[in-house]
């Protein structure tokens, strides 16, 4: 025979070649392909470390609070007696009483009246407190993940025989009794019955066609447990009623935005998501946020307000002259301009507990990546043990204790998850919360409007 014919016949000999492998081989292969992969955390270390370090820094670096109601006195730059001395504003004398040297005062008034000399009482109150705080957050433990394996009939190695129907046994369209979630119904109905009958005739013992799959409601992974933690940027804004303007120093009124300041914080949540379709669902749970309000205000004005009752009737500039005898038998004068200071340094902390009820949606970006978005409302409870604000009328620090507020918040979160071995999914999230109610501060003199921006690391697991 020719060489080509030789090759053809040789090929024919090995066409349906079959050699059953030993049983232990599958066990060895199974162990190797399903061994737990080494978990490489390194790409998560950087953001996780950043969040952890910022949280640690926030809680363990002591903070001090200081309140100061001193009215500082600063020198003028020009005076016709030409004797000027500089004074350190912060070290100005705590008290000036009536036994001081003779003081001559002059200045301009809004209504051109001559000044009546007056003494000012200066009181410096300095309180320092150190704040230390730490927070712990624990992640929940996982359960085993059972992915979709509904309706697959497994023909084990023991059942396989050197059988020409082997090919047919793996064509799922033949198995029109056992239902498969991803089988096109047309394939089921149009499958030729003859092939099905052949398959039935050759079905090995022990495999029953009547075994219907268990009714697994969770075939779409419809339930998720989510938790996460991270940092918060706390946006704070003051709302002052215009009716207060006549009672507030014009300089302070112009700078009223500085009555509060943005802060930072920590957020965490644990929620449950229930999907009622492939992409949409609802989510609810509980969240905790610790947010701060870091107020730093140090404003001065050389216009001294004159009041009638609480209402400001005018502003004046006040100059103080300190006159002292010198060695030459004459007098030296040191001029000081009186200024009014509005100073507050405070780090207020607010604890927030939230119960969100949100609509949820997810978009699978690839086999491993999923983008999720949720938006809705959150019932919020805010509590603060102590907070300090500036009373803008009497220009003093106002302390309030054990203040709480129930509010509704508009809440939304965007997260990007990636599959994380058998545990579930891990990802990064960012979110916002907009609190509808404002917090009245300084005895409800003005309102504090709060919004939060979150970001952190999230985990979710289907069950």
């Amino acid at each position: 025979m020719s060489q080509e014919e030789f090759d053809r016949k040789l090929k024919q000999t090995f066409e349906d070649e079959y050699y059953p492998p030993a049983e232990h081989l599958w066990n060895n292969i199974d162990k190797r392909i399903n061994q737990p992969k080494k978990k490489y955390f390194w790409w998560w270390i950087a953001p996780a470390a950043l969040i952890a370090v910022s949280a640690l820094m926030y809680y363990f670096i002591p903070k001090s609070e200081q309140t100061n109601s001193i009215t500082a006195v600063q020198p003028t730059t020009s005076y016709n007696n030409n004797t000027t001395k500089t004074a350190n504003q912060n070290n100005s004398p705590a008290t000036i009483n009536n036994n001081a040297e003779q003081v001559e005062m002059s200045g301009n008034t809004n209504n051109n009246e001559s000044l009546v000399h007056s003494t000012a009482n200066y009181q410096r109150n300095t309180n320092s407190t150190n704040t230390n705080q730490s927070e712990n957050n624990t992640a929940n433990t996982e359960r085993n993940h059972n992915s979709n394996n509904v309706g697959i009939t497994v023909i084990t190695q023991e059942n396989v025989s050197n059988n020409s129907n082997l090919e047919q046994s793996f064509t799922f369209s033949n198995l029109d009794i056992v239902r498969y979630p991803y089988v096109n119904l047309l394939d089921v109905f149009l499958a030729p019955k003859a092939r099905y009958n052949d398959f039935v005739a050759n079905i090995p013992l022990g495999v029953s066609l009547n075994n219907k799959p268990k009714n697994n409601k969770n075939k779409l992974n419809s339930r998720y447990l989510n938790f996460g933690f991270g940092s918060t940027i706390a946006f704070n804004k003051v709302e002052v009623d215009n009716s207060l303007q006549p009672m507030v120093h014009f300089h302070l009124w112009d700078k009223k935005d500085k009555l509060t300041r943005n802060g930072r914080g920590f957020n965490s949540y644990i929620t449950y998501t229930h999907k009622f379709s492939k992409y949409f669902g609802v989510e609810s749970g509980i969240g905790y946020t610790l947010r701060t309000e870091n107020i730093q205000m140090n404003e001065v004005s050389d216009s001294i307000a004159f009041r009638s009752g609480n209402k400001i009737v005018g502003y004046q500039r006040i100059m103080l002259l300190a006159i002292s005898k010198n060695n030459q038998g004459g007098y030296d004068t040191t001029p000081y301009n009186a200024v009014q200071a509005f100073t507050i340094l405070a780090d207020n902390k607010y604890n927030l507990l939230q119960i969100p009820i949100k609509a949820f949606g997810e978009i699978p970006l690839s086999k491993k990546l999923t983008l999720t978005l949720d938006a809705g409302i959150a019932f919020s409870y805010l509590y603060t043990k102590k907070m300090l604000h500036l009373n803008i009328v009497d220009e003093k620090i106002y302390e309030e204790k054990n203040k709480s507020l129930f509010s509704l918040a508009l809440s939304s979160k965007l997260a990007l998850y990636t599959k994380f071995n058998d545990f579930g999914e891990i990802g990064l999230y960012t979110g916002i919360a907009k609190y509808q109610k404002t917090l009245g501060v300084a005895n409800n003199q003005y309102q504090l409007k709060m919004n939060d921006l979150y970001f952190g690391i999230g985990f979710r697991r289907a069950f």
């Binding site: 090995f14 081989l25 497994v154 023909i155």
Partner: protein, 185 residues
């Protein structure tokens, strides 16, 4: 093909049941391939395991552009050859006796088809470099260029080795048939 795709996707996502289905479907054929190339059962099983592990680890790379069976067969053949190479069984030398053989163009054998068991037995007796080249070309459809690349030999050596392998098998087969028939008589 439709169901195969589902099984492959299941394997990629780590579904153990899909993995077992895939294994059960191809294990018998692939073991036969390994046995065809590697005579020793233990070494054949080693190559078989290595190849299947490679298949599962590289399933993501399968782009469904060709038949899955072709793809997986190639992996097993490569792994079998690698195993032979590691065992230093692919010795490319030509013995003096073989050199004296005359290699006719036509093979002196007149049969309808080969007896599978007899062929397997005879192939086991052939030098491994002959049987490997013969299997790769005649049964698995590799070209001489591919064989030369895989076995790291010149193309001309692949051609001459193939010719010698065919003739050796043909003569051995004929001799075996004659001996068998003479015993019957």
């Amino acid at each position: 093909m439709f169901a195969e795709k589902q099984i492959i996707e299941g394997c990629i996502s780590g579904d153990r049941q899909s993995q077992q289905i895939l294994y059960n479907k191809f294990a018998g054929k692939m073991m036969a391939i390994c046995r065809r190339y590697i005579k020793d059962t233990d070494y054949a099983e080693d190559a078989f395991q290595e190849a299947f592990v490679k298949v599962f680890h590289n399933l993501k790379k399968f782009a469904f552009q060709s038949s899955f069976e072709t793809w997986i067969t190639r992996i097993f053949i490569n792994e079998s050859i690698n195993k032979l190479r590691s065992l230093k069984r692919l010795v490319l030398h030509v013995s003096i006796d073989e050199q004296t053989w005359q290699i006719p163009e036509k093979i002196d054998l007149n049969i309808d088809k080969f007896d599978k068991e007899l062929v397997m037995m005879l192939i086991d007796k052939m030098p491994e470099n002959y049987s490997v080249v013969l299997m790769m070309y005649a049964v698995d459809g590799y070209s001489h260029k591919e064989i030369s690349e895989k076995l790291n030999m010149p193309e001309s050596t692949s051609r001459s080795t193939l010719t010698r392998a065919r003739n050796m098998l043909g003569q051995m087969y004929k001799k075996a048939i004659v001996n068998h028939e003479s015993r019957r008589i």
